[in-house]
Amino acid sequence: MSTAAAALTNTEIERSTSHNATIFLKEAKYEFLKNLRLRVYTASVISFPLMFYVLFGLVLNAKEVIGGTGVPTYLIATYGTFGVMGASLFGTASGLAADRGLGWLQVKRASPMPPFAYFTAKVVLSMIFSAIVVSLLLVLGISFGGVRMPLGEMARLLGTLVAGSLPFAAMGLAIGYFAGPNSAPAAINLIYLPLSFCSGLWVPYMFLPKLVRQIALALPPYHLSQLALGIVGAGRHESAATHWEVLFAFTLICLGVARIGFQRDQGKLYG
């Protein structure tokens, strides 16, 4: 009885910090489970980079060398970037666009869920799947491609690529706020695939046409792939700091765009 009384009269119901932490963890847990069980997501995000890697790095060209680095090693860095980008974009953008367009995000916003928990969960999802993709690439490369990498180098590669998922998660949020629920996957691909090609994630950078190589310098995936390549010893000897700066600036821009979309949603949705 007294609890019910307290519930009726207490106007300052607080959630403790540990309670908030629980919410964030649960939100992330269920976001992960939700996507893991989505065959389409898991299959495409993980399978495509692995398939390309197996085909171009293990079956063909396995004995080739690019600028002093073995192909299987080189391609872990580039397809790793490709995989991380895909995991982040598809993890955030299509889910967000669908949730927005079809009313589910409204249900969550009407609830006491802290909005930040929703976005954090999506970012965490991107990072987890990015880690999975890169780890699997490493496993394949080491088992079948003769890749030799000291443990420290592997850890740095994994860490860099997973950190690199953040800019693309931010990009995904920006796209998700402006795409429609059905057109989001197509919109993502329209951006993702050309960006990947022009950044040297498929055809290695040095084999790209000159114009494309110049364009690449402005593209975030190029910078992430160069960071990864630098770790495996195949970089172009550029300053790592520059790459990180570009990625950081890109993240801020995307978050700004996402925020505009967030504000816009307040007035837009028609009842």
């Binding site: 519930a7 106007t11 300052e12 649960k26 939700k34 949730d99 249900v107 609830s111 006491p112 009842g271």
Partner: protein, 331 residues
Amino acid sequence: MICPASQTKAEKTKMIATLEETPSLQRASYGSVVASLEGISKNYGEVRALRNVNFTVGAGQVVALLGPNGAGKTTAVKLLLGLLQPSSGKARVFGGDPTNPHNRMRAGAMLQVGRVPETLRVREHIDLFSSYYPRPLPLEEVLAAAGLEKLRDRKFGDLSGGQRQRTLFALAICGDPDLLFLDEPTVGLDVEARRALWEEIRRLVERGKTVLLTTHYLQEADALADRIAVINQGAIIAEGTPAEIKAQTSGKRIRCVTTLGLASLLQIPGVTDAKQDREAVEIRTSEAESVVRALLARDASLSGLEITSAGLEDAFLALTQDNGENANRQN
């Protein structure tokens, strides 16, 4: 409640009486208006979804916002949930801003949605939503209230339409909210499921909850609501108890199978309207007895005679038609 065995019967009776009094006293102490729209207008570009609406929901009541599709019901609910900002006026929940998390922690909402994550199980959805609230109901209780005990492990995508509605209802009540928003809660449910949900809503109200429900099912408003606000084209055109709303159109309906034509029926004094309804005719009048006498006198072969009060449906149609005409005349 543990009562010491040594208490006399009189003492126990007094204690129970005090306990029964307490909830309503405390409801009154924080103010009896739980949600309100004050001078609310909401425009989407040129469309005026709500026009200077004033509306309150009192503690412990079931208030139904009744209106046809596009009337502005969902817009009103979204304003009270803080999902939309008004173009002018104020929306208040528990005396404060609807976007305040403290107020959201005391409210639950069932909205019409096009998509719910399909790969999560029923109990996982409820677990997640329950975690947002400081004092949620136990999972078993929520499942029982929504009739979902057997479906706890089913993925949302494998549920039927009615089961999905019940899951959304579960998400609305799982936080044990004081104020419940139900936007068209029984759309798509069969009769049995609808009745079950009504029962559950009544049980919630008995425990002291406040419910704002929107519907275009007149029967639902009549069955559940203490107060009905009829809304059409963005304005509230009538407000009162179901009986008061029904009283706004006086009159009875007479239904019978007769050889008399519509034209001659309209000639009978007291008849305000007559129309064909398959094999019978339907006559509106406020003087049922004299009209029936006249009918029986003019047509000895008359059969299938039924006399009913104008239901809520007639009241509603009359109100919205009048309102529509007025609106057109103003434009």
